[in-house]
């Protein structure tokens, strides 16, 4: 994909702070980190998002993420980490080449999680039935 920045990084046409590479994926530091050590795990093949990514690639992504995240949190002395995959612009996806964020977290970083709502039982039942029908 000519204009994909992640394809260019994978192909070494653009430099990146690589931390890991195997046959299927690369991992490099996000240049706009939420916290130090913020790392992206990226399949080498161009797939636009999670929904378009083959199962065998996804399997490798999450098992490798476990190992990479363990190294990242040790390296930056973090207290934990979030894994995130944003799919579609409404979810904050900006680069349309599948990628997974590893965000190191510190007890003192002050980052807030989204608030939860309360749905009544009839609405929960309705959602559940709609999802089940599609699976």
């Amino acid at each position: 994909m000519n204009d994909c920045i992640f394809c260019k990084i994978v192909n070494k046409q653009i430099p990146a702070y690589f931390v890991y590479e195997n046959d299927n994926i690369v991992a490099f530091l996000d240049i706009n980190p939420v916290n130090p050590g913020h790392t992206l795990v990226v399949p080498k093949e161009h797939h636009i998002d999670l929904l378009e990514t083959p199962d065998e690639v996804l399997s490798d992504m999450l098992t490798r993420t476990k190992k990479i995240a363990a190294a990242v949190i040790k390296a930056v002395k973090a207290d934990g980490f979030n894994v995130g995959i944003n799919t579609k612009p409404a979810a904050g996806q900006v680069i349309f080449h599948t990628h997974l964020h590893i965000i190191p977290r510190f007890s003192t970083d002050g980052l807030k999680h989204w608030p939860s709502k309360k749905l009544e039982r009839p609405e929960m039942d309705k959602v559940r039935e709609a999802v089940k029908k599609l699976l």
Copy 2:
């Protein structure tokens, strides 16, 4: 695990809004959803977090998540979704049985993402070297 609420849900000792089940995982609606359709994908075996979860379980989790998320966003007519796995209390983990969040997103939901920082190159290099040494 006697006191684990997710083990009790898996074992059907506590009710839940199940949407999917196979030999390795279950998926059910989060009772405190960020948005309607917020779903948890949970391994049946008790593992406290992502770092402790075996590779074969993680593989199934993410490939299944792809299929479940596709159904969820269709069911609630969402515009996208976030996948999230919080690991350790500093990262917002509250229940210590591995679970993955599927959060449907709507263009109009107003949820904000965490701001990014700018790290200078020497600090990025230092982090990269520390991570690479551990991988």
